[in-house]
Amino acid sequence: MIVSFPHMGSPVPYKKIFECLGHDVIVPPVPSQRTIDMGVKYSPEFACFPFKVLLGTYMEAIELGAKVIISSGGHGPCRAGFYSEVQQRILQQLNMSVEFIIFDSPNHGGYQDFWHNLIRLKGKSSWFHFMRSVNLVYHMIHILDQLERQLEIKRAYEVVPGTCSKTWEKIQEDFSNLVNVSKDLKAIENLSKERIEKINVEVPGEDEKIRIGIVGEIYVVMEKNVNMKLEEKLGALGVEVERSQYLSHWVDYNMIPKWIKHSHEEAILKKGEKYIEINIGGHAKQTVGHIVDYKERGFDGIIHLMPFACLPELVSQSIIPRISQELDIPVISFSIDEQTGLANNLTRIEAFVDLIRNKKRRLIYNKCVAGL
């Protein structure tokens, strides 16, 4: 099968698993202005932003010759579960027919479909090989996320701007080209750690450090080409960043049964319970939980990202002013849409960081004065 997949975060793990199973993989171009334009042109008007970007990505993948698109589904109440049905039809109308393999959670009565999809994905390789590939990629996702987190912190203090981003590219390349079996993982991980060690940094005192957490809907938080490369922008301003969504968290929460491993997300959901009682779909509850979590861990500010017209995030957005007040933590919301002009958002980000910095300085100043 010539398979393709939508972008969300680093494409390496997705590419790896399909390659391991013996499929030809087409990595679609990263979402660009063209992708967004194409997606917007053929999408329903009020569809949410990820829908449009995904449609554009699929179209670009089909142009490159993809025959099968593999993606994840859902079962409500968020719209994402119904994406593929509509996208399939839109592509059909455009004479760009392509086969979709959508992995829905088997817990909601779709065992047969899930099983069927799994067999298709397995292809001609043996079950032993299949399990080995899944295992390899599972560990790879965890290692990649750990490395990325280290870089997100280091990026704030790099001496030569852009070193961290370049290192990240190299690390991804290494993992993509050099890792074929689980044994390789350790060596490449060490190599990557060395690369990260080599980056020159000037770390300021603890009082000067600023930590910002990025929360929100998973797609816009994880896909940096859609969210204005927010992490890099913040890093350039000297801010340590942590995202609320990593692929490893998503996999642990959605794919590993609870009796095997309790995921980090459960604790987060518990923290959000005070503000949103039930799971209303999407990542609304996680968003709220993460804000509480970041506050507890001493972060200085939160950036909330949501796609335009995202239903669950709208609910969390309306709660955020209250949380911000109760917990005394600055929160800023960005609604991401097809408008790619940066100046406006950049100004807001800069102002937000300045605000946090000044707030922190004043606190320290007050403490000093009190100490005297």
């Binding site: 009020f46 949410c48 589904g73 109440p77 609304a284 017209a309 609910v315 309306s318």
Partner: protein, 321 residues
């Protein structure tokens, strides 16, 4: 003095009004509804609510504000699911959270959860709501049973005429119940069409039994109750030979409509290409735009029957079916 419970006239109110009225009245409280939507309510709602939210949610905020200082308790249930394997839209699931954080100085809110999919019964949630008013469990259960009876009586659907009428025209209007019933929001759409001498059928008239055969053919099960209702009605009317046209009433920012509507319009093209109009309601109150579109649409339907020569002036056959 009796406790006054306020029920805002928005969203699911139109479907379950009788149930809650009977339930609360049996508990011995005074039920106060907000007035029909008017200009002030809409204006207040727009001011209070997040700007990206959909129009009915905005209007709901206005209704809440209208009631806030007149009642002792506000009734805004958190309805997640009312049927097996189905949900409501995320905004309705999170409605109490939205309202409580956007409208200040609210009286106490009855905001318990009804989640049929998870718990497989309604009674628990309803009884919990009752407990906020009275501590007498048996009284609450009695009130619940009484309210249920009222709901069952209401549920016998009207008979839908299916024979083709040569003289008059029949139009199916589909959309969320709150879009079709709130006459301020939809600018008296149904009345206007009826005034032109058309017969109007709405999506609320179609029972589950009728839509089921069509919905079961949809490849992926639709997980929104409202979406199922709309799409089911759309597909049902599409297959009825006496329907001359379909109007889809959507509203600004509706997430469910954004994906259901393209699906339906495509199906319509494939199965039976009859005139189809999508009306997207928003906070504009100027009626001229809507009137013009409506008139053009109705004219098209009339002319189709009276002078359709099936020869289009351009390209392929435009509307022969």
């Amino acid at each position: 003095m009796t406790v006054r419970v306020g029920i805002p006239k928005g969203l699911l109110f139109y479907e379950y009004e009788s149930f809650w009225r009977v339930f609360f009245e049996s508990l011995g409280v005074e039920v106060i509804f907000s007035p029909d939507t008017n200009k002030d309510i809409m204006k207040n709602g727009l001011k209070l609510c997040e700007e990206e939210a959909c129009l009915p949610v905005k209007i709901f905020h206005g209704h809440v504000l209208e009631l806030a200082d007149k009642v002792d308790m506000l009734f805004i249930p958190r309805i997640r699911s009312l049927h097996y394997r189905e949900y409501y839209c995320p905004m309705i699931c999170g409605l109490p959270e939205m309202v409580k954080n956007s409208v200040s100085l609210l009286p106490s809110v009855i905001d318990d959860t009804i989640d049929y999919y998870k718990h497989r019964y309604y009674k628990g949630g309803v009884v919990r709501m009752g407990l906020k008013i009275s501590s007498d469990q048996s009284k609450i259960k009695k009130a619940y049973c009484k309210a249920c009876k009222g709901l069952q009586n209401k549920n016998d659907y009207q008979k839908i005429p299916t024979d083709k009428n040569e003289k008059s025209y029949t139009i199916a209007i589909i959309g969320h119940t709150y879009n079709l019933t709130d006459h301020y929001m939809n600018m008296n759409l149904i009345k206007k069409i009826k005034g032109e001498g058309f017969q109007v059928l709405t999506s609320c008239m179609v029972s589950c039994g009728k839509t089921q055969p069509y919905l079961s053919k949809v490849p992926k099960r639709i997980f929104w109750s409202c979406g199922r209702e709309i799409l089911g009605a759309g597909l049902y009317y599409m297959h009825q030979q006496n329907i001359d046209g379909i109007i889809y009433v959507s509203c600004f920012g509706c997430g469910v409509d954004s994906l259901i509507e393209p699906y339906l319009s495509q199906q319509l093209k494939k199965v039976r290409p009859i005139p189809y109009l999508v009306i997207s309601l928003d906070e504009h109150t100027g009626e001229a735009g809507l009137n013009t579109r409506l008139e053009a649409f109705l004219d098209m339907i009339r002319w189709r029957r009276s002078c359709a020569n099936h020869i289009s002036s351009y390209g392929g056959n435009l509307y022969s079916c």
